[in-house]
Symmetry: C2
């Protein structure tokens, strides 16, 4: 934690946990008989229970979206830039909820959880979960918290896909959907990158077909490679050029295979530190959820038809140098919504930071996002 908690932070926060005994029917056909969801909340639920905002996290995110867990924390939650007093999701007005998704590795039931049937971690036996499954589990959490209707469901990247799915699965329970730097489905190239990441993990000899916990090892090399590759797709070419260029770590070529360019050093560090804080089986599950998400599939690839019944109003945003989910992908969503005469605001935000931009305090972004959320607040408070 910084010496003094900034005034615009939610401050010290504590995760909570909810246990569910009602079986969850999964899209795969399998059933999860019981599960836990870890979540955090910030702000106060109003008397009318009308000011709740659900934040959905992306691939490597979790429930700790803002604030600090302890005085020792060096870093706040992953979306501190957008959530807090006076920020776009203003915690003086909204009651904010974010849970770690099922299949995750930060407290909600997932591959590292104990399988009560075997007394060992689920590992690869944890069922493949989809965006629709997550939304269903989030609906159970909403029930538990007494939230009938979300003022807004909000997410970036894979989180944006959850926001979109909410409006399809539970049209009457979402007033506004905020879909940032997302797509209505992965492209072939997106799937290709995920597949290389999965192969990196699954061909690591220490993967042991997912049962690495029992061998007291982790598929460190594979998970590191997956994360390095992911990072390339999160940054734009321009951002990498601005940040690293062709700078040499020691100022000269060494004609060897140790780190030479700054970008190599950055990627290795990102890969290595990720291994310490993330589970490989969870990584695999998250990439599958991404690959599978495709609400238009059931409508002969007609996204307008898939979104015909949504009732939410939308704020869609994209970033000019995001090549993972480019502005064109966001415009597909906007077009499909307009086809059905839905209420949609769209912002294409100039930024060099690529996909990562959705996490950054870019003034124009904070501004339009904040404006939209003030409109949401005005309706419910």
């Amino acid at each position: 934690m910084p010496d003094r908690i900034p005034d615009d932070s939610v401050g010290l926060v504590t995760p909570q946990s909810a246990h569910f005994d009602t079986p969850l029917q999964l899209e795969s056909g399998r059933v999860l008989p019981r599960y836990d969801l870890v979540y955090e909340t910030y702000g106060e639920l109003n008397q009318e229970r009308s000011n709740a905002v659900l934040i959905c996290h992306a691939l490597s995110g979790d429930h700790h979206v803002a604030g600090y867990h302890s005085a020792e924390d060096k870093k706040p939650g992953w979306w501190e830039s957008c959530i807090g007093p006076g920020k776009p999701i203003d915690t003086r007005r909204f009651f904010v909820v974010c849970n770690n998704n099922l299949g995750g590795c930060k407290g909600s039931t997932g591959p590292i959880s104990m399988n009560p049937d075997t007394g060992k971690p689920f590992g690869p036996d944890f069922p493949i979960v989809t965006v629709r499954d997550w939304v269903d589990s989030q609906a159970s959490l909403a029930d538990r918290l007494g939230i009938r209707t979300w003022a807004a469901v909000v997410g970036g990247s894979l989180g944006g896909m959850q926001a979109l799915q909410w409006t399809i699965s539970y049209p009457e329970r979402v007033r506004h959907a905020v879909v940032i730097a997302a797509a209505s489905r992965l492209s072939s190239q997106n799937i290709a990158f995920n597949e290389v990441a999965r192969q990196a993990i699954m061909t690591d000899p220490e993967f042991h077909e997912g049962h690495y916990y029992e061998h007291n090892v982790i598929p460190r090399r594979g998970l590191m490679l997956a994360r390095m590759l992911g990072h390339i797709t999160y940054l734009s070419d321009a951002a990498m050029r601005d940040k690293f260029g062709r700078e040499l770590k020691e100022g000269k070529l060494n004609f060897g295979f140790d780190v030479e360019f700054e970008i190599e050093s950055y990627l290795r560090y990102q890969g290595q530190s990720f291994v310490e804080r993330f589970d490989a089986n969870t990584y695999l599950l998250m990439t599958k959820a991404l690959d599978y998400f495709d609400p238009a599939r059931a409508y002969r690839d007609n996204l307008s038809a898939a979104l015909a019944e949504v009732e939410a109003k939308f704020f869609v945003a994209s970033f000019t140098t995001d090549w993972r989910f480019s502005p064109a992908r966001s415009r597909e969503i906007v077009k499909a919504l307009l086809d059905g005469d839905k209420d949609v605001s769209y912002a294409e935000i100039e930024s060099v930071q690529g996909h990562d931009a959705f996490l950054m305090p870019i003034p124009y972004y904070i501004n339009v996002f904040g404006s939209y959320m003030r409109r949401v607040a005005a309706e419910v408070i």
Copy 2:
């Protein structure tokens, strides 16, 4: 080989080998005391020795650039689309030479060659070679073949970098340089992809620090991952969409980690077949040659200054959907040449195929490339 060799193929060809005892001083400071270069030639060297064209290969290429090695060959050389009677590099007019680069794995001295000092393969002890080193070794081959001046030095991708370097290292020995789908240096993002590929190979437990030959294994998983990743960067997003889309191999989701999408099947196949025909140490060396290439570095990043002394005329070509070496990168080269009042023709070719386009028989490309080469032929024949 097809049932009948097409009329526009150079037909059956036989590799040759040249041994060099004159030590090669490498850019790294190390010396290669002796080496072999394997090469192929097509067409006839004319009396004036003025019609020789050098083809330079890219990362995974070799000396077998056109024609067939035997009646059993199913596939011709890697640039059959552009080399042969009546093709852009018309073997009725030109004497075509292409050698496997030093450090390669197809017959020229490289990591799999016997190190005479140890009686074992060089492996990781083979020195890191650069584009400049390759050009120097190609100059020795030219001397051996009695070729004082190339009518043209031609290459795509890493091959285009060699063509560019030829005009800098030996300005008086190159009449024309053809630089296709290349760049004057890698971007930070390009280096990042190479670094992930290298880490995939080097962290494979069967890499054994490059001494895998002695263990009778190969770093199969790492090399497969490197190739899968490479393939993503060779294809455009649009080409992948057109070719694979989100098609499912079995027509339905299986909720498992076996191949589901067509793109996964394609990438795994490409990765697995590459392992059978390429050497991991060579792959590492080739990526380093790419990373290091940067002729402007010695001129304070001023490419115009680096190209001030070139005498060759240039044909530079790029492809609209190539995101590995985008048209913008080719235009940097064109601009630097124009700064020095050099003679340069530039074609930006509309194509969906991404970086791979330079190997494809795209009509407009074949047309402009052919026109330029006819101009070259008219000068020398």
